[in-house]
């Protein structure tokens, strides 16, 4: 894919004529191009602003206590261990559900499905990405919380998995399309069955793309709050391993603490936000930087 720019001298006519009309056209051209450039830099400014303020406010609160200590039962102090532990359990479980679903689903669309069903599935995956995440929360609430009358970490993980699956599926599908057909043919010609060919030739070749999709899905799930409000609920105690009970997560912790009219709790929210942002951005930068050459070049 080209970057879409054409290497042609701009506004030859405008410069040749030198008339008043020509000058006006040149001025409009120049000024609008400058405006477009300013808009582009304006777009990039918020990232810098958010990064700066989260770092400035969060760095003081980001210490070992934040990761290792649970919140005090009463009053202020303690840390966000409940949130860290919850995120570290729910996100991997979500990935364990979403990755097989997404990857094999993508295999089906890319390798087996007819054109019509591929389009339907792809379309639904895209629409699912656009469904507001809070509705995913309600959806999972109706069948994993309501019947048991108990908010639980498992429901939270399922809600995150629903969000991750289409992301993994679409990224994987793209990377499978980049696998050269000659590899498939060579493998089949050697008498390798189709399922082996897919697993050890196609998926292995597409592995970098699959990892990209998985990591982007993980980063997205890690930052989601809304789908957890009515599923995992959040918890002030450190919950290790009991998926049948409420669990906390970093975003939930930030949300709850930011709404308290207590400065020390707000500080903890900034610390947790700094930690979350750091992890999410590192994943994104690492993954995107790797696939960058392929996508733009």
């Amino acid at each position: 894919m080209t970057a879409g720019t054409v290497a042609v001298q701009p506004s030859i006519a405008a410069r040749l004529t030198g008339s008043r009309v020509g000058r006006r056209r040149t001025v409009v051209d120049r000024s609008m191009r400058t405006v477009a450039m300013l808009a582009a830099f304006l777009c990039a400014a918020p990232l810098a602003a958010v990064l700066f303020y989260v770092a400035a406010n969060g760095i003081g609160a980001l210490n070992l206590d934040l990761i290792t200590k649970a919140p005090r039962a009463l009053g202020i102090g303690g840390g966000a261990a409940n949130a860290v532990v919850g995120t570290l359990q729910m996100v991997p479980l979500a990935a364990a559900i979403a990755v097989p679903l997404g990857v094999l689903g993508a295999v089906y669309i890319a390798e087996f499905a007819g054109r019509r069903s591929a389009r339907i599935i792809r379309f639904c995956a895209d629409v699912l990405v656009g469904v507001p995440s809070i509705l995913i929360g309600i959806f999972v609430f109706t069948f994993l919380v309501l019947p048991f009358k108990q908010f639980n970490g498992f429901a939270g993980a399922v809600a995150l998995a629903v969000i991750m699956t289409p992301v993994v599926m679409r990224t994987t599908e793209e990377s499978l399309h980049l696998v050269p057909n000659a590899l498939r043919e060579a493998s089949l010609a050697l008498g390798v069955p189709v399922w082996r060919t897919v697993l050890s030739v196609v998926l292995r070749t597409g592995l970098p793309g699959i990892l990209t999709g998985t990591m982007l899905g993980v980063a997205r799930a890690m930052g989601e709050t809304a789908p957890l409000l009515f599923t995992a609920l959040g918890s002030r105690v450190v919950n290790v391993g009991d998926f049948g009970r409420p669990m906390d997560s970093l975003p939930l912790f930030i949300y709850v603490n930011a709404r308290q009219p207590v400065d020390a709790l707000n500080q903890q929210a900034w610390g947790a936000a700094f930690l979350l942002l750091l992890v999410v951005l590192i994943i994104n930068v690492a993954v995107r930087a790797r696939s960058w050459g392929r996508r733009i070049g």
Binding site: G4, S11, P100, G114, V127
Partner: protein, 319 residues
């Protein structure tokens, strides 16, 4: 990428032996699961909101009172809040996003375009709750002292711009949403602009057009439906955005009179009251709100995807 349409059914016929068929049908079932999830989501929301829809019918959408104690549920305040905050976001984000996409696709040299695109993509990766935190403590106070104060002092005589600005309310929510939907609008507009054939540009330049005339008269008309699609996708995101909006909009369940009023969107009303709601009519009413949101966002999404596909092909555009 662009090969998506041609690549279907690579092994379609080759899978005939038993293990292959098992593998094929397993992956098929998993793939159709996505479709099933979407269907199930709609059905469960519909079933669980049956009680409120049965009790209030169409007046659920038009009623202005939301009073759980009296048992009266009218969704209009939240529908207005949702549309108003998203409208502010679209008004601000469309020109900025489109100009940015034009700059990235047509004007910027590669060494500028690549890092800028990267930065804007990272903006999309910031979790919503972090935007909310920043919005409450940094952006809101900043806006109330600068932009909002200025609007109130110059346009305050118009009722919808009446103050006082608190830094919490519709306007702040609209600005936060602007930041959150800009990456979507920029990325997809850039993709569709890039997909415009070079022959369009060359013809325009050969006629003596300036670069800007080429963009406005040849490139943008060609990419128009895709750009509209990008804006609608941004709108869909804004309508359903929950956490950041919940944290800065003020959470007041009444129809707002001014852009500086505290308000409540569908998503933020669900987020703030669902857990305290008693099972029964109140929960049903909140799920009914969710159903309204689902219908709006799904419709917009489907329309937008079709528009983008028309220009860029079905393999593109999934941000």
């Amino acid at each position: 990428m662009t090969t998506a349409t041609t690549a279907a059914a690579r092994f379609g016929r080759a899978a005939s032996r038993v293990p292959d068929l098992v593998f094929r049908s397993t992956s098929g079932v998993l793939a159709w699961t996505t479709v099933a999830i979407l269907g199930l989501l709609a059905i469960l929301l519909l079933l669980n909101s049956g009680e409120v829809l049965g009790t209030f019918g169409i007046s659920f959408l038009t009623g202005t009172t939301w009073d759980p104690i009296a048992g009266i549920y009218g969704a209009l305040p939240f529908i207005v809040g949702t549309i108003a905050s998203s409208f502010i976001a679209i008004v601000l984000a469309t020109p900025i996003g489109l100009l940015t996409a034009i700059f990235l696709a047509e004007l910027a040299p590669r060494r500028v375009a690549i890092p800028l695109t990267f930065t804007i993509e990272l903006l999309a990766a910031i979790p919503s709750v972090v935007f909310g935190l920043w919005g409450v403590f940094v952006l809101g106070p900043f806006l109330s002292k600068t932009v909002e104060a200025w609007i109130v002092s110059t346009l305050g005589w118009i009722p919808i711009f009446a103050g006082p600005p608190f830094g919490v309310g519709l306007f702040t929510a609209g600005v936060i949403l602007t930041l959150m939907i800009l990456p979507t609008i920029v990325a997809i507009s850039r993709d569709v602009i890039t997909a415009v054939p070079d022959s369009q540009r060359e013809a325009m330049l050969a006629l003596g057009a300036t670069r800007w005339e080429m963009i406005t008269k040849a490139v943008l008309p060609y990419a128009r439906s895709g750009i509209i699609g990008a804006v609608i996708l941004g709108l869909g995101r804004a309508l359903g955005e929950t956490m950041a909006v919940t944290m800065v909009i003020g959470n007041r369940p009444q129809v707002p009179q001014s852009v500086f009023d505290s308000s409540q969107t569908i998503a933020s009303q669900i987020a703030t009251t669902f857990n305290e709601a008693s099972i029964g009519l109140q929960t049903s009413a909140l799920i009914g709100l969710g159903l309204v949101l689902l219908v709006i966002t799904m419709t917009l999404n489907i329309v937008a995807r079709l528009l983008v596909w028309r220009v860029a092909g079905p393999g593109e555009a999934h941000t």
